[in-house]
């Protein structure tokens, strides 16, 4: 309201002092935000350092921040560490890919046929909330301690994220847009290409972002408890041999990975959202 209807005409020519003052204010604000953020991180690290040093927590099981960071840099020089990162990312990517393909195919078919939507509704609503980790014992029985078992868990959870979003997206087609396409005599296929697909795309991107986070969590979980090689397994091995600095260092690594995945997919999602006004519900895990 304030900006559009009443935007005043600029009366005075841009006074250098005025504009640079504003720019300085804005830069100060960003600077303050960055400084405070870093201060928060620093405060956390300081607390972390103090707790074991002062003996508040048992230093044998809770190494200091400095020790952990030192171990982290030691790990970064270890080839096996990077191999583990690669393994985790591989199972993550593979599971995500399989889940996405399945979800897009099934979601599109079911989403476009109203009869199928109604018929599958209760089944979907019953299967969806099942925690993927509940299937771990089954997966172990079926495949043993192998990658396929992990993939079963990863795919089962990630599938629902993408599937639900694709369902929403396919159903969200604007009635006016569809009528326009029909009135211009577009074939069914052309309609799907030019109306359904662009409408569903942002939903798909959201689903991908949610699925990517879920897939990472479950990939690491599978490695931890199903003896699949990767970062999760490395954490459990370090724990069993009492190398707690390694454990905490690896935890930080997983957090960084999670951040990178989240930021990366958020950026992708935002790009595809640039033109779409969406009203979406977020479903996770």
């Amino acid at each position: 309201m304030t900006a559009t209807a009443d935007a005043p005409v600029i009366a005075t020519p841009a006074t250098p002092r005025g504009s640079s003052h504003f720019r300085r204010q804005r830069r100060l604000r960003t600077l303050r935000k960055v400084v405070l953020g870093l201060a928060g991180i620093a405060g956390f690290l300081a607390t972390w350092q103090l707790l074991p040093t002062l003996g508040v927590v048992n230093p044998a099981y809770f190494p200091t921040a400095t020790d952990t960071i030192a171990q982290l840099s030691a790990l970064s020089r270890d080839l096996e560490f990077w191999r583990n990162v690669g393994r985790t990312l591989t199972s993550w990517a593979l599971g995500l890919l399989i889940a996405t393909v399945l979800a897009v195919v099934l979601g599109t078919i079911i989403g476009l046929v109203p009869f199928l939507r109604r018929a599958t509704h209760t089944t979907v609503e019953f299967l969806r909330p099942i925690p993927s980790v509940a299937l771990i014992p089954l997966a172990i029985l079926m495949f043993g301690y192998q990658l396929q078992a992990a993939l079963l868990i990863i795919v089962f959870a990630s599938f629902w994220q993408v599937f639900i979003q694709v369902l929403y997206g396919v159903a969200d087609v604007d009635a006016v847009a569809r009528d326009t396409a029909r009135s211009y005599g577009l074939s069914r296929g052309a309609q799907i290409r030019s109306v359904v697909f662009p409408t569903a795309l942002p939903y798909l991107m959201t689903g991908l972002r949610l699925a990517a986070t879920v897939a990472l969590i479950l990939a690491i979980t599978a490695e931890m408890f199903m003896s699949v090689p990767g970062l999760g397994r490395a954490i459990m091995i370090a724990r069993e041999s009492g190398q707690w600095t390694t454990v905490y260092a690896l935890v930080i690594v997983t957090g960084v990975l999670g951040l990178l995945v989240n930021i990366g997919f958020r950026a992708i999602e935002r790009r595809s959202l640039a033109w779409h006004q969406s009203v979406r519900g977020e479903e996770v895990l």
């Binding site: 309201m1 304030t2 209807a5 009443d6 935007a7 005043p8 005409v9 600029i10 009366a11 005075t12 020519p13 841009a14 006074t15 005025g18 504009s19 003052h21 504003f22 720019r23 804005r26």
Partner: protein, 275 residues
Amino acid sequence: MPESRSAAKPLLTVEHLRKVYESSTGNVEAIGDISFQMNAGELVCIVGPSGCGKTTLLKCIAGLLRPTSGVVELEGKRVTGPPPNMALVFQEYGRSLYPWLTVRGNVDLPLKHKKLSRAERDRLIDDALVAVGLDHAAKSYPWQLSGGMQQRVAIARAVAYEPEVLIMDEPFAAVDAQTRADLEDLVRTLHRERGMSILFVTHDIDESVYLGERVVVLSKSPTWVQEDLSIDLPAERDQLVTRALPRFTELRTHVYEQIQRAKRGEAVRPGVTAA
């Protein structure tokens, strides 16, 4: 100016109001120098060309913005923040009404801290809803109602609050023409039956002449008061009859010409020598 002993002090005084915004591209002088007064029980309309800072002016009067210089006084007291005896009706009713409250809940909300008894509050709410013609919609939610009805809810909320001054910021701009006519008559009815002092900002010239007892014409940015016109139409106004009066046409033509001059920047600010 000699003050007669019977003349009451003005309700609202705006003196040499000036507001300058700093933006990334330069200084923007939204309001140059605005001075006017409003007496109790008056219906004053403010018109001006697009972009002349009407909303900025209202926000300064309502205490939502701090002016760069100048004074706003309500009942003799300087306005530094939103004064408790003032009520605002915004243009975007959709964003001003709270969607999680019913119509009744929305009207009730500002009354909660006024230290009234439950019975007293209910009376005020019922009274206000009847006055705007929405007593049957008390239990509905705002988003279930049409645009015109939502704006009525916002008006009812302001009326129930019993303010000294009611400020309305282009309230009917987003409403269709037929509804707008009804709402204009509603405003006039509220003004006459309750003696409410109303400050009404609009870009619709016909509306300003139809509604107001005075019309304040603002200039182009940097804004100042180009003219303060007295509307000598009869107090009883009707959409058909009044708008057909020759005097109405004269007045609206005059205001229209003023606005055109304002847009072209031809009007000269008193006390400032022409360039």
